[in-house]
Symmetry: C2
DNA sequence: CCATTTCTTTAAGTTACTTATTTAAACGTC
DNA sequence: GACGTTTAAATAAGTAACTTAAAGAAATGG
């Protein structure tokens, strides 16, 4: 059965994808250096998620945690690193001082955009190698699979 | 452009998939316990890769490292854990005593098969929700993307 | 015999999370 | 207003899954 083979292929492919997806490429490292961010800065997929969320406006740490799908301390850590790299800053919400709002440091939008572009490139290439139908099926399958690994997917 | 949206969707989806893909479901934990493997055993996607490779016969640690795509010490660790859980064992190759061959502990094939089945389930469900065309496109896209994140994919 | 290479493991370190706990702020009830 | 409870973020402590460097043993070739 062809499907059996496809399933086995995905099973072997997933860990490999996971290992590769977090590594920056040389183009990206060069770009980061040119923009004055420390050369050893590591922008992980989790960081990219944060940057994307913030491109829509300031967010509290709790909101970021929820959007990204991690615990609040994990969100704190992700933000810590971006603050360290001078890309984002924290400030308190006047309306409720418990809340920490995270926003881009002025002038860093463009840097973040470049970083996001670089991280998109392999995805872009993959999708641009597919027909419209194929691309939609690819993303559909990816969504279905992600949902399938999620907590609501278990059956008794 | 529809493709832009698809690309952005994948960019946000990947970290979420990565976080979810390593977590065992409750069915799997129950099965593991029933088979006499410690209840806290965590069988990661990397372990699954090892189990799949070994289902084709004994392998040296170096071969496993290569097949799975990790460093030799990482393969050592993966094997360590499976040995700990009583699923595989090490023995030296008579022809070259430097080489450590890894093989299933007698009677553990079936346990491993069950574990692999459980790990396959979300993938199976996703693929079975797609038409034949869609399923092929999904795996094609996944492969292309994985290659795109790999070391040979960078361009000057 | 000896220098070099190969194979695996150990050692040391990093990253990306998690849960538990702490601190400060806000809320609701009396 | 006082006080108990809840909320938000950060800190503390720990785990898993890697990496590179180095060590130890075995094999190879001159």
């Amino acid at each position: 059965m062809d499907r059996e083979q496809l399933i086995d292929e995905v099973l072997m492919l997933l860990p490999a994808l996971m290992r590769l997806v977090g590594k920056p490429g040389p183009v990206e490292m060069g770009e980061i250096a040119r923009r004055g961010i420390p050369v050893d800065a590591h922008i992980s997929p989790g960081h990219v998620q944060i940057l994307i969320s913030l491109s829509r406006g300031p967010r509290s740490v709790g909101q970021l945690a929820e959007t990204v799908g991690v615990s609040p301390p994990a969100a704190t850590q992700l933000v810590d690193k971006l603050v360290e790299h001078g890309m984002v800053e924290r400030r308190h919400d006047h309306a409720d001082r418990r809340v920490v709002l995270v926003d881009y440091v002025p002038g860093m939008h463009e840097v973040a955009r470049r970083i996001m572009e670089d991280r998109r490139r392999p995805i872009e290439r993959a999708i641009n190698s597919l027909t419209d139908e194929e691309a939609r099926a690819f993303v559909k399958g990816l969504k279905l699979m992600t949902e399938g690994f999620g907590p609501t997917a278990s059956e008794s």
